[in-house]
């Protein structure tokens, strides 16, 4: 439930002041590297070089995650196969009495 902001004369505020400040801070963080020229990926005299930076950054970020996911999927498949085999091996077949 949203609170009434003094001076809005009964109208409901769309954004709380805290949320607005947070959004402003987020925008500042996003835009700051542009003003500081601090992002080697974003600014280069050569467009090809800029794209090489972006491409390799994406590649180096995604590759380890992909490899981990691949090994995780392989392990999961192995464990499931192991469990299934264990279940089929535990068939009760001989009544004793």
């Amino acid at each position: 439930m949203s609170r009434r902001i003094p001076g809005t004369a009964g109208r409901r505020a769309l954004v709380r002041p805290g949320q607005a400040l947070l959004a402003l801070a987020f925008l500042l963080v996003l835009l700051a590297p542009g003003y500081a020229d601090a992002c080697s990926v974003c600014f280069s005299t050569s467009e090809e070089n800029r794209w090489a930076f972006i491409g390799t950054t994406v590649f180096m970020s995604i590759l380890p995650l992909g490899l981990l996911l691949g090994i995780g999927a392989w392990l999961r498949r192995k464990v499931l196969a192991m469990e299934q085999e264990h279940e089929t091996a535990r068939l009760p077949v001989r009544p004793l009495s």
Binding site: F59, V79, L91, L96
Partner: protein
Amino acid sequence: MSTPSDTSTRLELVSEREPRAGIDTVVLGMLLFCMVEAMLFAGLISAQTIARSNALEWPPPGQPRLPVQATLVNTLALLLSGPILFHAGRVFRRSRRAALRPMALAIGLGAFFVIFQGYEWIGLLREGLTLTSSQHGSFFYLIVGMHAAHALAAIAALVWAWRRLLDLRLTPGAFGGAAVFWYFVVGLWPILYWRVYL
């Protein structure tokens, strides 16, 4: 040992085999090792990509061009060794002795790849492409040399596995570990060929 039960019928488990589809630690260890090595090559490829994008001309003027066509033949030989080793793995599960021949063929193709690369390197060195002649030369010898080192290590692992298979002492795990290493070497090469040669 079964104990008496108050229920009218007791059931005994007469068939409790050890599960066959276990996780082999050798294969898992080799997969993790290959993962680490993949990141090493990813770093090298990224560095080469950045250097290449910074250069006005690639390869730099005055530097010899890489033998793209000849290496393509070599690439096909290496790629062929992958399915042959895979076939050896399938045969190995049925009859161990029968896997000797396809495994030897895969090792032979791998050895051909490495020897051909050595021959290629001699030619390039004569033409003036050295480790210090340009960034192109540095990256070429570093990336391709690193791959060749891995190929040699994987061939050594396969030869070790083959010798154990000859004595019928090769376990499925050991075979799997050597095979995973070889698949890594084979799978990596087309990416390196694309980035370094083309």
